[in-house]
């Protein structure tokens, strides 16, 4: 009896081993690209990317793109997989997150060969299809790790018809901006919409004011100063005073301090406020709430007299691909060259209503102004001056809580700067 059982077990084991061997043989010769995406199933970008994958697999029957729709927390999952040596070949996120999570930790593969590869059916070198400065934006030395396909930038959104109705023109300078706010307020319309529960939306004001007053790189410089002394320079205080000016004049819509996203932006889209300072994703997020005569327009953050940063300077917030360490570089580069074809990137514009990084694709109508700002810019800076990637914990635990207090009127400009000085010094002393 015992012998019989052991014989059956042996036969079963042999069958399992044989089956396993058969399956590896059937898959051998077929390359698999493991792709973890930041999009969720059903999102417009997911649909566009799925179409690219289907077309690529049809054109390359020996390649399978094994895609998983992971959502925005994809970098945490990539980290865990990287630790167990099981990272995907390809993933995507915003440039700041990719830089902070992978590039700075030397966990990304350079994709330098891709730059000179020809884009299929177009015969154009890969690097030549991008809007100037966009592809090398996250370059580290000679190495290119990050391949952007979507451009986001921030500025003031407004409804052109509403501005006409109130006889107001988009302001170019800070003084004009304040006047425009006063006009709306005097006529009973809340000038500025703000979803106060999102701290990084609140931070747009102070960050942009510092950019305009002192130029790019100055926020990062102050954050990285271990003594905290840099915050003592007058420009930082002036920027804080200008935020306080908006608060003191009650330009923000009632209830903004507790406004839970997306309450304020949907109220703006339905005409309950005049302007909102946020990223270029706003038009696609609010399209279903806006009336038929709503004409999406945008203007860049106003310049400030005597400021070092002009309006010709644009913010670049890029979404793109990266190949984590150990990826099959050849397969990934081949796929990315295929994906950047004009006919597929058109989906980013038409279906996702975003700005493509390809220079030969116009923006959706609602974002035409944003694209103009980016294309005509003389120089670029990262979103929030690159603070998210450079000093993420300082950004999250020092700056954002203090900035919330400033924009909620719980702290005056001088106190804000004093606290920044003190807390920055404390932060670095604990490192």
């Amino acid at each position: 009896m015992g012998k019989k059982i052991s014989r059956i077990i042996s036969i079963l084991l042999a069958a399992v081993i044989l089956l396993a061997a058969c399956s590896s043989t059937s898959s051998s010769g077929k390359t698999t690209i493991k792709y973890w995406s930041m999009w969720n199933k059903g999102e417009p970008q997911q649909v566009v990317i799925q179409k690219i994958i289907d077309a690529y697999e049809d054109a390359n029957p020996n390649v399978k793109v094994d895609v998983q729709w992971m959502g925005r927390e994809v970098m945490s999952k990539v980290r865990n997989a990287a630790l167990s040596g099981d990272a995907p070949d390809l993933t995507e996120q915003s440039g700041a997150e990719v830089e902070g999570a992978l590039i700075k930790n030397k966990l990304a593969e350079p994709l330098n060969e891709l730059l000179s590869m020809k884009i299929p059916n177009e015969e154009t070198p890969f690097q030549d299809v991008f809007i100037d400065e966009v592809l090398p934006f996250y370059q580290q030395g000679e190495d290119t790790y990050f391949i952007p396909y979507e451009i986001i930038s921030s500025g003031f959104h407004y409804n052109e018809n509403l501005f006409k109705e109130y006889g107001v023109k988009p302001p170019a300078t800070w003084d004009e901006f304040v006047e425009v706010n006063k006009t709306f307020k005097s006529k009973g319309l809340a000038p500025l919409a703000q979803d106060g529960n999102i701290d990084f939306y609140n931070a747009y004001y102070y960050y942009w004011l510092v950019e305009r007053l002192m130029g790019p790189g100055t926020l990062v410089e102050a954050a990285g100063d271990k003594t905290g002394e840099t915050w003592g320079q007058p420009g930082y205080l002036e920027a804080a005073k200008k935020v306080q000016e908006l608060v003191d004049n009650k330009f923000f819509a009632d209830g903004y301090k507790g406004s839970q996203y997306p309450a304020a932006q949907t109220a703006w889209a339905s005409g309950k406020s005049a302007m909102v300072l946020v990223g270029s994703w706003l038009s696609s997020e609010t399209a279903e709430y806006s009336s038929k005569d709503f004409v999406y327009k945008a203007f860049p953050f106003p310049s400030i007299e005597g400021g070092k940063g002009g309006k010709d300077q644009a913010e670049l917030y890029l979404i793109g691909w990266v190949a984590p360490k150990g990826a099959d570089k050849k397969a990934v580069q081949d796929f990315l060259a295929f994906a950047m074809q004009k006919k597929y990137q058109e989906g980013i514009v038409k279906d996702t209503k975003n700005i493509s990084t390809r220079k030969d694709l116009e923006a959706p109508e609602a974002l035409a102004d944003f694209r103009e700002i980016v294309v005509n810019a003389s120089s670029f800076h990262k979103e929030y001056d690159g603070l998210q990637a450079e000093y993420p914990d300082w950004w999250k635990t020092v700056f954002l809580p203090l900035d919330d207090k400033l924009i909620f009127g719980e702290m005056k400009a001088e106190e804000f700067i004093n606290e920044l000085q003190k807390q920055t010094k404390d932060f670095w002393s604990k490192k």
């Binding site: 992978l102 529960n197 999102i198 209830g255 301090k257 507790g258 993420p392 914990d393 635990t397």
Partner: protein, 293 residues
């Protein structure tokens, strides 16, 4: 025979004990080990820093703010959860009609996902078109900024009390069910008031159930995460972080690539200590002779 049984004990225990060791004790010890390091969790490069992470906790204002929020949920939330629970218990032990229906109704919030509840409560609290402010404005009272910086934590606690009270009331009521009705009837015949019946009969006889319910609340309140995280919206503001949220955000970054797994683990260890302290103190405080029925 006894030796035979002894021989069998180890093989019978082994599967359960090994699973417990591998999936609970092992990771916990590893977490403790990580807390003595500086580590992003991305590379093998773990730097041993001894007790530095624990020293950092002592002077970290965000940690203490999150700790305060955790304590607010634990104690302020706890007081109201059990007050409501006792209220139900007192009423039900008075022989209220439709007992089962009331029980089902008060238990309803527990069958809904906390994230869905958080979204609903956010709508109720909305400043412009929220339920509460609509009522206030309809009676001529100025609207309240429920989710504003000064109120958001209290608003969250009110919601937590609302969805938790039913669960703990049900536990307490299960204890009340053990008490024979004759005891209540005898007390009523003797002329005892509802309050007297509750304090002199119900409470002593459900003491063991109550102590377990309170300890369970403590553990759940300390590690509360999902509801609060969703209630905070797309990017929960720092002022409403509890320690569990702070630990998560430091370790896993969310939208900001922080990734301080070492420091995050140290915070997790402090949470375990708080849970242990609460459980041990609770058990000592509630230790009392159990009345046999």
């Amino acid at each position: 025979m006894r030796t035979g049984r002894k021989k069998l004990t180890i093989p019978y225990l082994l599967p359960a004990v090994s699973l417990y060791l591998i999936f609970f004790v092992g990771p916990a010890i590893y977490g403790l080990w990580i807390s003595f390091h500086e580590w992003s969790g991305f590379t093998d490069d773990m730097k041993f820093v001894g007790l530095k992470n624990y020293g950092k906790i002592l002077v970290d204002p965000i940690y203490w703010q999150s700790f305060l929020n955790m304590m607010l949920i634990l104690f302020v939330g706890g007081i109201f959860v059990f007050l409501i629970g006792f209220l139900f218990t007192a009423l039900m032990s008075q022989g209220v009609a439709a007992k089962k229906a009331i029980r089902a109704i008060i238990f309803f919030p527990q069958i809904i996902a906390p994230i869905a509840l958080a979204v609903v409560w956010n709508y109720l609290y909305r400043f412009d078109i929220g339920f509460f402010n609509s009522i206030l404005t309809s009676i001529g009272v100025n609207p309240i900024n429920w989710t504003g910086p000064n109120n958001i934590m209290m608003s969250a606690i009110i919601s937590i009390i609302w969805y938790s009270a039913g669960f703990y009331a049900i536990i307490l009521l299960a204890g009340v069910d053990k008490i024979p009705n004759t005891i209540f009837e005898a007390a009523r015949v003797e002329g005892a008031s509802t309050f007297k019946i509750f304090t002199n009969i119900t409470l002593p006889l459900i003491w063991d159930v109550m102590s377990i319910a309170i300890i369970l609340w403590g553990i759940n309140a300390i590690r509360l995460f999902d509801f609060l995280f969703a209630f905070g919206g797309a990017e929960p503001p720092t002022r409403m972080w509890n320690t569990a949220m702070y630990q998560f955000i430091l370790g896993f970054g969310q939208r900001t690539p922080i990734y301080q797994l070492g420091y995050s683990s140290a915070i997790a260890v402090t949470m375990v200590m708080v849970v242990l302290l609460f459980v041990v103190t609770g058990r000592k405080l509630f230790k009392r002779e159990v009345y046999e029925l």
